[in-house]
């Protein structure tokens, strides 16, 4: 009997983990649908504006820095690569397409996850363990409507805007290295940016930004909201672990979703 158990136990454990993942995924989707339904509640607008300021406006500085240096690095790397093929002139197209299609949405989403996503998970987690969410329920204020819906709505508004901002700053970064440092003609650079990037590329980038916004806000809010149900820890430690889980799961899922969306768009 014991021998049989030792053969089956890894399978049992794997099954248990798989079931837990499936359950959690189902719970997350329901959580998202319930919260999304309440985005259009009449009292939401002031809270959504507050969250757009926190998630969007206050992330602008970090997005500027990351965008600028990403564009500069790309300008430098691609310039040296393209020179080998005698096509340094298309630097503008290469930088702009990489940024608009891939790097812009992905890096922006990761940056916002680090800055605002972690804060969402921690803030909601602390509200859970200090009974503030219970207090909302006793006041008949739906915590999903009050805490989660505005964050999802604000993310959906902020992610594409910040992605666009990242793209612009990145293209400017490519200009600094390619034109100002490497001596490429400025008119050539901008001509290739304008002719190389098509509307579908921009739309695709925005689609990705919206998908990442939904994923990041859902995962971070979900992790914070159910901090009290963690089995591995309690209290402040549970808030810490929920925040870590929120950031790690969000980053991984951003990359997975990036591949899925790209393959659907191409």
């Amino acid at each position: 009997m014991d021998k049989q158990m030792s053969y089956t136990s890894p399978v049992t454990s794997l099954g248990r983990i798989a079931l837990r993942w499936v359950n959690e995924l189902g719970a997350m989707v329901l959580f998202l649908l319930r919260a999304f339904r309440m985005v259009f509640h009449p009292k939401q607008l002031p809270t959504i504006i507050q969250q757009v300021y926190f998630i969007g406006a206050r992330s602008a500085v970090i997005v500027t820095f990351v965008g600028l240096f990403t564009g500069m690095v790309m300008g430098l790397q691609l310039f040296h690569t393209l020179v080998k093929f005698g096509s340094a002139g298309v630097l503008g197209t290469a930088v702009a397409l990489s940024l608009v299609r891939e790097l812009g949405p992905v890096l922006t989403a990761i940056m916002i996850t680090a800055r605002a996503g972690s804060s969402m998970a921690a803030e909601i987690g602390i509200q859970r363990i200090s009974e503030q969410i219970d207090a909302l329920e006793t006041m008949r204020i739906d915590p999903l409507r009050y805490l989660v819906s505005p964050r999802i709505a604000a993310s959906i508004i902020s992610f594409p805007l910040l992605t666009a901002f990242f793209d612009l700053i990145g293209i400017l970064g490519g200009f600094i290295t390619g034109v100002m440092l490497m001596g490429l003609n400025a008119g050539t650079y901008f001509y290739h940016v304008r002719t190389g990037v098509e509307m579908e590329d921009i739309t695709g980038g925005f689609v990705k930004a919206v998908v990442f916004a939904v994923l990041v806000s859902m995962i971070c809010c979900f992790q914070g909201f159910y901090t009290h149900l963690r089995r591995d820890s309690y209290g402040a430690k549970a808030v810490g672990l929920s925040t870590t889980s929120a950031v790690v799961i969000s980053c991984v899922l951003i990359l997975v979703a990036d591949y899925v969306v790209t393959s659907l768009l191409l």
């Binding site: 207090a135 006793t138 204020i141």
Partner: protein, 413 residues
């Protein structure tokens, strides 16, 4: 027969296999103050969370006005629970919001009142709770007592029909504790809500409660009036009530009613059946108006000073006093007969009018410039050690009360 507002029928709740509530039966009636007492960890907070719907029972039924909650539609349940406010033990204030925003939150999120109307209601509530100066502070910048008052303001700001108070006086000094209880009693009478309290503050909480529920090891072992509770004979009383009274510093610095009765009985046993004694009763008339004018904290300080004054005065002639109700004191004069007592009380009344009221005002830290009209009534009755029950004596005393001192305020023109 009166239908209970809330009724538990064989309600059980387990956490990790441990029964926190075990087949609990209880009734809570509309318009009353019901206090739930019990040792720490006996399931009092869990019981309250069942009433407000934060927890659902594993077994048994909870009824609201005779309707089982489990059978209510979602909208009916929502309507029912919307009438209830809950004050958490740890306050559960939103630490990233100011005091004003915390109190305004339920109005902003659950009503369609205009911004001006919300601000006015919050301002009035903050004034009543003496929180005006803290309006723009954050909860972490306030003392424990002030946080409690913010939580109380938030619970009352929506004018609920039922208010649950989970240890509303924890962490308060004796004056504030009684001020909060007095405030709860006053608002309960004024707005007519049903109050359900969890409290350890015996006997203070008895003065405002209509019913007491005692929870012991997950079961209700007593339901009844505070007077019935004082007669209730159970090991729980010795373990819980007595232990609390031993180390309790009472508001008035004098004995509790229970201690008073014990000491009274001991005193009477030492006397012959024909030996007389006198019981006097003092009432602070218009106490509620006094609290409204001076604030609940000052009101309790006046009561405190009055208790100290009585103790000082009658202690000298071998008397001892106890707080009889929210605004009444009883004094037992074991070595006096009716004639002596009449003389003593007459002298007491003169002293009180001449300088006592001024002393009480000073002791209560009420500025001499502030005049608050109030009167003290007194009555007394004689009985014999082998005579009638003490409760009958109290009734006779109450009937004989008349005014012995009054503060007159000049009307300035």
């Amino acid at each position: 027969m009166k239908t209970p507002l809330i009724e538990f029928q064989k309600v059980s709740k387990r956490f990790n296999g441990h029964a926190v509530l075990d087949r609990v039966d209880l009734s809570i009636y509309e318009g009353e103050v019901t206090t739930i007492i019990g040792k720490s960890g006996s399931g009092k907070s869990v019981l309250l969370k069942h009433i407000i719907g934060l927890l659902a029972p594993d077994e048994g039924t909870i009824l609201f006005r005779g309707r089982p909650v489990q059978k209510m539609s979602r909208s009916e349940r929502d309507r029912t629970f919307r009438q209830i406010s809950y004050m958490f033990q740890n306050n559960a204030l939103f630490d990233s919001m100011t005091v004003f925003e915390n109190i305004a939150l339920p109005l902003r999120q659950t009503t369609h009142l205009s911004q001006g109307a919300i601000e006015e209601r919050v301002r009035v509530r903050m004034e009543q709770m003496e929180l005006t100066d803290a309006a723009h502070s954050y909860p972490s910048e306030l003392s424990g007592g002030m946080q409690k008052r913010v939580a109380l303001s938030r619970a009352l700001v929506i004018d609920p029909k039922i208010v649950l108070f989970d240890e509303p006086t924890t962490g308060q000094d004796v004056i504030r504790r009684n001020a909060i209880l007095s405030m709860i009693a006053q608002y309960q009478r004024k707005f007519g809500f049903t109050a359900i309290l969890i409290s350890h503050d015996l006997p203070d909480v008895f003065f405002i409660s209509n019913r007491i529920l005692a929870l012991n090891e997950g079961s209700i072992i007593f339901q009844g009036t505070p007077e019935q509770f004082e007669e209730f004979d159970h090991p729980f009383i010795d373990e819980f009530v007595q232990s609390l009274e031993d180390f309790q510093e009472h508001l008035t610095g004098i004995q509790s009613k229970r201690q008073f009765r014990v000491r009274n009985q001991m005193g009477l046993r030492r006397k012959g059946p024909q030996d007389s004694y006198v019981v006097a009763l003092f009432t602070l008339q218009d106490f509620d108006q006094l609290c409204e004018q001076l604030g609940h904290t000052r009101g309790q300080e006046v009561l405190n000073a009055m208790g100290a004054y009585l103790n000082k005065h009658f202690g000298a002639v071998g008397g001892f006093s106890a707080r009889q109700s929210k605004k009444q004191f009883t004094t037992f004069l074991p070595f006096s007969n009716l004639n002596e007592a009449e003389r003593i009380l007459k002298k007491f009344g003169q002293d009180l009018q001449k300088e006592g009221l001024r002393t009480i005002q000073a002791e209560a830290h009420v500025s001499q410039d502030i005049c608050f009209p109030f009167a003290i009534l007194a009555g007394f009755a004689e009985s014999r050690a082998g005579g009638e029950e003490i409760d009958l004596v109290f009734k006779a005393v109450e009937a004989s009360q008349k005014e012995i001192a009054r503060v007159y305020c000049e009307v300035r023109r």
